[in-house]
């Protein structure tokens, strides 16, 4: 497939935004359980604002993918059958809930509404946070299922696609939370850093498996089945045009094997190896700059990872566009 930059930015930006929200809410839950020091409402409000900014950034990027963005509202109608439609519904829902979560923190509406078994004070942000967490996980599912539900594209048609989107999104979000904490100079850097490393390692496992899987499978169909001529020595002589078409532009990435290898090692290094090393170093050196570097490097690596994700997909329609005489 030809990598669509709008989609690359959409999936990486909203992944980081969703991950950042999950990081904030996880921090709040930990502080409720007295495992972490309580943070100011401003911390959550500003963090949510950053998460919203990333989600909006993703939404803006996605608009460039559409031929007719002015009709995008119609995309919410087919949620019964289309994962893309489901994403179109869940994305604004997640944005709204994250916004409310940040807003209630900003307004300081954190007085407990009621207390469960005299230990767990439940306030508005906690309730909104549960809903937003649900929406965030649903959004990961919808975004990934857009690709994982295409049964003709075997490289994507796997639960590993969902796992990758989830773990990598969470990893980049927690990485950003660590960078944010480091910037503020509060004491959550090692907490967020640890979870960022855990998510990164989980992502490394699932992405590693999907890379391994995608280098060694055969497509279910071949040219014989594509045109129904069962001769062992078939060649294409003409594609029906000389100057290319949508079929040759949309479904081929046009990168050489060497280039792909470089991209693969590049993203493996930038998404998985360097950020973990930087976070560990930041912990040892108690540096505030290194978590920020870790996030930036991992995000740039994720852009390459998503680009590579597109190049891995071999569309069966390419069987009809193999050569010209």
């Amino acid at each position: 497939m030809h990598p669509a930059f709008s989609v690359i930015f959409l999936t990486t930006l909203i992944g980081a935004g969703q991950g950042l929200f999950l990081a904030l809410y996880t921090g709040q839950l930990y502080s409720l359980a007295n495992l972490l020091p309580v943070q100011s409402d401003k911390f959550y409000a500003v963090g949510s604002l950053a998460a919203i900014a990333l989600l909006i950034g993703g939404l803006v990027a996605s608009v460039f993918h559409l031929g007719r963005p002015e009709r995008a509202w119609r995309a919410a109608t087919q949620w019964r059958t289309s994962w893309l439609s489901r994403e179109v519904i869940v994305l604004p829902a997640a944005m709204a809930l994250t916004f409310l979560y940040g807003l209630f923190h900003y307004l300081g509406w954190t007085d407990p509404l009621f207390v469960i078994s005299e230990t767990l004070p439940v306030d508005l942000t906690l309730i909104i946070g549960v809903l937003a967490t649900l929406a965030t996980f649903l959004l990961f599912l919808c975004t990934a299922m857009i690709y994982a539900s295409l049964r003709f594209i075997k490289a994507w048609y796997s639960p590993l696609t969902v796992a990758n989107f989830l773990f990598l999104g969470v990893a980049s979000g927690f990485m950003l939370a660590a960078a944010f904490s480091a910037y503020l100079g509060n004491n959550l850097v090692s907490f967020y850093g640890t979870w960022a490393v855990v998510a990164t390692l989980l992502g490394a496992i699932s992405r590693g498996f999907s890379l391994y899987r995608n280098t060694r499978f055969r497509c279910k169909v071949d040219l014989k089945s594509a045109i129904g001529v069962h001769h062992s020595d078939l060649h294409q002589k003409a594609q029906g045009f000389m100057g290319g078409s949508f079929n040759t532009r949309e479904f081929f990435h046009g990168n050489s094997e060497g280039c792909l290898l470089m991209l693969r090692y590049g993203f493996l290094l930038m998404v998985f190896v360097l950020p973990v090393i930087l976070i560990v170093l930041a912990y040892i050196l108690e540096s505030t700059r290194l978590p920020m570097a870790a996030f930036v490097i991992q995000y740039l690596g994720l852009l390459i990872e998503r680009y590579h994700f597109f190049t891995e997909a071999k569309h069966p329609q390419n069987l009809y566009y193999q050569s010209m005489a």
């Binding site: 009709r71 919410a76 129904g228 045009f241 078409s245």
Partner: protein, 241 residues
């Protein structure tokens, strides 16, 4: 239920592209148009087509067989492009099974083209919506046309009658008979999309004739011998005008 479809006979297709040009001519000016071109008269021309004719070769020269392969939307009975559409612009007509795109609803997200294993859909760069073969829905449903004209433009244009059109669910239609009797097959059947369009394979009709079958060994009345020529050679009366 009716399922209209094309049956394309690879045995008689000569690869003349008449179906391609007639398709473009009819549809660019009709309901499904315009089918815009980019750089039509410059280097690297490209444009929107609903139908393409490709050419394949089996074997090694000089022992080859050439296949001209017209390729368009197959109007699958279980079309994978329809459920993925987020706006409902892609749909399959209930009454005749034709898969269509509502250009007024399409947002040009290209997701349907990703979901089609045949590469049958193309985005129109100018109108920025997805387009595909409509089986000339504006012709085949136009009751003002005489019945012989209620066929897709490509079928009417084909000089070798390589394209048949009809209802594949009616066992007595010309297409069902062709599929049944001439070995019609579907493309990439492994996916279970159940394409409605079928292709007829290359087939050679040869008879085995042995030398002794040309001469009658047993002919006592000499019935098939020509009368001998008159003496003195032929006259003008002997020549049949």
């Amino acid at each position: 239920m009716t399922q209209l479809a094309l049956v394309i006979d690879l045995n008689v297709c000569v690869g003349c592209h008449a179906c391609v040009t007639s398709c473009k001519e009819w549809n660019t000016s009709g309901w499904a148009g315009p089918m815009t071109d980019q750089r039509a008269y410059d280097e690297d021309p490209t444009g929107t087509f609903f139908n393409r004719v490709q050419t394949y070769e089996a074997g090694v020269f000089p022992h080859t067989e050439t296949y001209h392969f017209p390729k368009s939307c197959l109007h699958c009975e279980d079309p994978p492009c329809v459920p993925v559409c987020p706006t409902g612009a892609s749909y399959k007509r209930e009454d005749n099974g034709v898969v269509l795109v509502d250009y007024d609803k399409c947002i040009g997200c290209k997701y349907c083209s990703w979901a089609c294993p045949y590469g049958a859909r193309e985005i129109d760069e100018k109108q920025r919506v997805m387009k595909k073969c409509t089986l000339c829905i504006d012709r085949i449903t136009d009751m003002n046309l005489p019945e012989s004209q209620r066929k897709p433009a490509c079928v009417l244009a084909c000089p070798t009658s390589a394209r048949l059109f009809g209802d594949v669910h009616d066992p007595n239609s010309v297409v069902s008979i062709a599929i049944r009797e001439e070995g019609g097959y579907a493309l990439q059947p492994e996916w279970g999309t159940k394409p409605a369009n079928h292709y007829l394979p290359r087939r050679k009709t040869r008879i085995q004739i042995h030398e002794d079958e040309l001469v009658r060994a047993d002919n006592p009345l000499k019935k098939e011998q020509l009368p001998s020529l008159p003496e003195g050679g032929e006259t003008l009366d002997d020549v049949a005008w």
